[in-house]
Symmetry: C2
Subunit: 160 residues, 2 copies
């Protein structure tokens, strides 16, 4: 039973509700508030396996009756990122829901340039970087590891 770290199909409704409940629980445990805007923002991210820009998100939030100004979206997104429920994709100036909330991880992403799907790898592939950093005396605090390319479905000769 694969989690969706890869590009395999899965029960999307279930994965959304699981993630949402995990977030509820984590917030309760930490004393953080998963307010309506924040919860809805997470839900929107979870509905898409592609990364969403802050303004795309904002448009959807506005439709749902929330504020329509940029800070509304950025605040919710920053909250989710801080809590580890979402990640920022630097290469796209966009955001995705975290594929394994609750675990402390240094994520790596595979981003399809055709369909925009973003898959989160389930362990830190930047291992080699740690060795380099250690030998240079550099103290790593955060890593960004992103690969752009073609997902299985978008490669020439891919099954429809």
């Amino acid at each position: 039973m694969p989690h969706h770290a890869d590009f395999a199909p899965h029960d999307h409704a279930a994965c959304i509700s699981t993630a949402l409940h995990a977030a509820d629980a984590a917030c309760a445990a930490r004393g953080a508030q998963l307010t309506p805007v924040r919860r809805r923002t997470l839900e929107i991210l979870l509905e898409s396996h592609a990364a969403l820009g802050a303004y795309d998100l904002l448009a959807r939030l506005a439709t749902d009756g929330f504020g329509a100004k940029p800070p509304v979206a950025y605040r919710a997104l920053n909250f989710l990122v801080d809590q580890g429920f979402a990640h920022r994709i630097e290469g796209l100036n966009a955001f995705v829901a975290c594929a394994r909330p609750g675990t402390d991880h240094a994520p790596a992403f595979m981003i399809c340039r055709t369909c925009g799907t973003v898959a989160e790898a389930d362990s830190d592939p930047g291992v080699g970087l740690r060795d380099k950093a250690a030998s240079a005396g550099f103290q790593i605090e955060q890593t960004v590891v992103e690969a752009q390319g073609l997902c299985p479905d978008c490669q020439p000769g891919a099954a429809a």
Copy 2:
């Protein structure tokens, strides 16, 4: 004698002129034109071990008598990136000169959050990512690997 892949001091004037001549040669070999704006842009990047934003660069170019509108900077930067003489640092929306022009490489960067220095690692630390991608059936075209943290000089207790 280390190249400046790490944070060690080095003969900066020499490293600039070497890089500039390497770029001249590479352009000649490829039929690309290292025009005055482009050459000056590379020179400016080489003078700094920190990443420069497009608008910082633009201001310096304007001082030197080149055009002062954004496309002037972005075009020169894109040229340098295309030719492999510079890299874009996604995490900073900024650019650095390439530490090893002419070699075909998937760069990885260590970015000091205090002094802004950017060091380019001299081999691909994203190796683990390739395995992940292979098993997911994802075809990598390009990678972004960036670590943020503290360089040796900026760590608590670093020598002045």
